[in-house]
Symmetry: C2
Subunit: 394 residues, 2 copies
């Protein structure tokens, strides 16, 4: 049997994907996946939009399309990004097969094996899968309740430079971060941009949750808007419409966008025209924002239910972050140390993301990510109770 | 500005994609892209299927799905592959975001930088884009009117082994090859399998055209069916239904399929559920085969029109392959040497794929790929006439 490439040793299954089938078992409470609530979507209306698109434009939607995306999608993204203060034009935008595919392309374009990416500690498990596949290491930097600390990033970048390490970019999820739920204030974002620009290091800003503030306020200013020449922005329709369609986007300086488009066309030719067209029609319609408002109202109620359950069931030693939007909280409890948390949780009828999965080195962790976005309050309560049993506090 | 990774030097734009916008100009005759004819598809019926899917299963189709694919797709592929003699089960199948994305995953899994892939000379331009992005070289082997020559493959493999080169796989398009249109007979396929199995080299069988025989006969036996443990099979719905959806599949031994699924999930999580579901419903319906029959009838008529035009307009020195199915012919004429064929063709109102683009080293070529699949006979005639003008024979 032919041996695999050396990079294959670094392929890592996502713990969310690994428990995907388990999480479909109705007797299991899944606090693992960051699923949006889709009950707010009128299925008939979405079906009508898809039908109209195919009846009117089948020859275009079913045929090969442009790597630059279907008509209208880039203009839609321009409007969405303006909410975060980014003055992009359509020429800066590249549609992707989901924002993780965008991160894959950026990593492919910028990273040689042995390079180091500076990222939050903890960070998104899916990003670690991307980085691993390119044999790139990750230096995690400390966070506090305001997210990534710019001075810690500066220190990490300077130390890595002193070691002769190449650091192509800093990877950061500034709004309602995955997995911690915390959000970087505007001032800290400006500091981070300055730290990276001074050192000629790009920022990859992964921002799928920006529009999901519980108080429905505008998103915090994006780092891309502050310094578009230094920041590649990754956006997604997965959390604000429908992840099953697999449509996201990237914004990058035009010459970088051109290289990314060539790299993208070499893999997928273009994202699915039908999925792109449905996103363009739906998110551009009057249906979209009211449905998103209802969804965020649900996320807020669910977080309230989770917070109450955590307060009731967790041991006194436990603590957790207090998200003001998004899908996640990060629960810390020393009772988690030394356990195979995921296996014990599954055995007790609840799934979640163990903290160790959110670090490239898989270090022992006293924390776990709990998602509240896709589960009804009563189930959240039961899921937290089952989790508390794993911790031995019940 | 941060420098790109070393692999970025090897990113290559596809000549088909590069002329995508030019080819949309109605005054230009495009013989460049291998577009299926979609006029045979009843748009209303396709729209109805999509609408029914979303009305009935929106919560499943719009939500995150399984990397193993939507229900029913793998069973459909099992039936399709049985036509080529492959006795696969659903566990062998992985859906992809188009078969080129499958080739990307196989290359990612098997190839280190500096490895060499043995492929037909000429081969599919899109495959060269995939291989380049992984810093892999290609050794082209000679073809004749029966396709790749197994003894030439054996010689290339032995020479590369003697040079200490690692050859993870042989890449071959056995049916109505892209770009030459030729098809490997069954006996030659068996010989190629034996040559590769003896040397412990995988075969990657890229077979999107297998069902497009002009005489509507069953596909030639697939190499995957002959030796499933030595062959990774790439399939596509792009040529038999709709390329704009971006859905294909791979078949591989289960342990390889598992690694490929992890690699795929790291990039796209899963292919678009809506696109997968529409493919599953349409190709599984009674609509599909009659529409495909009509499409192949068109391809046959168009090839006849192209053959007549080539006979009428080409210089006496020119020759071309005679496909018995698929989308392409390969025209050879020494008048093409020393010209920037694509630029001169575009200037004369016709686009095509220059032969040099079908070799990794971009060698000078006296040939070009002409696609007849997506263009009406009168336009084909005009396109060939314009091409003949570029050759100076009119």
């Amino acid at each position: 049997m032919m041996e695999f490439a050396s990079r294959a040793d670094e392929f890592r299954p996502s713990p969310v994907r690994a428990v995907f089938e388990v999480a479909r078992d109705p007797s299991v409470v899944s606090l693992a996946g960051g699923n949006p609530d889709l009950s707010v979507l009128p299925a008939d209306a979405v079906g009508d939009v898809a039908s109209l698109l195919l009846r009117g434009r089948a020859g275009e939607i079913l045929q090969y399309g442009s790597g630059a995306g279907v008509d209208g999608l880039r203009e839609l993204v321009v409007k969405l990004m303006a909410r975060g203060g980014s003055a992009v034009t359509g020429a800066d935008i590249l549609p992707t097969t989901g924002s993780q595919a965008g991160l894959d392309l950026v990593t492919k374009l910028y990273c040689n094996p042995g390079d180091v990416i500076v990222a939050e500690g903890p960070t998104y498990v899916g990003a670690l899968g991307v980085f691993g596949a390119y044999e790139v290491d990750v230096q995690h930097v400390e966070m506090d309740h305001d997210g990534m600390q710019p001075e810690a990033v500066a220190q990490a970048l300077d130390e890595l430079a002193a070691q002769g390490k190449r650091v192509p970019f800093v990877y950061v999820i500034p709004s309602f971060q995955n997995p911690t739920g915390v959000t970087m204030p505007e001032e800290r974002r400006r500091e981070l941009v300055e730290v990276c620009a001074q050192r000629d290091v790009m920022i990859v800003e992964d921002d799928p949750y920006a529009l999901l503030s519980f108080d429905r306020s505008d998103p915090r200013p994006s780092m891309h808007g502050m310094a578009p020449e230094h920041v590649i922005h990754l956006g997604s329709f997965s959390k604000i419409f429908a992840p099953g369609l697999r449509v996201g986007w990237m914004a990058a300086p035009p010459e970088v966008r051109g290289r990314l488009q060539i790299a993208a066309e070499s893999v997928v030719i273009h994202p699915s025209n039908l999925a792109q067209s449905l996103v363009t029609s739906w998110v551009g319609s009057e249906h979209w924002e009211p449905a998103l408002d209802r969804a965020v109202e649900l996320y807020k109620e669910r977080w309230t239910a989770m917070e109450e359950a955590l307060t009731e069931y967790m041991p006194d030693s436990a603590s957790w972050t207090t998200p003001s939007g998004g899908f996640f909280t990060w629960v810390t409890a020393d009772e988690l140390l030394g356990k195979d948390v995921l296996a014990e949780a599954v055995a007790n009828g609840v799934v979640l993301v163990p903290g160790s999965a959110c670090y490239m080195d898989g270090r022992e962790s006293n924390a776990a990510r709990l998602a509240f976005s896709g589960v009804a309050p009563a189930r959240i309560r039961e899921g937290v109770r089952r989790f508390a049993e794993v911790l031995g506090s019940l």
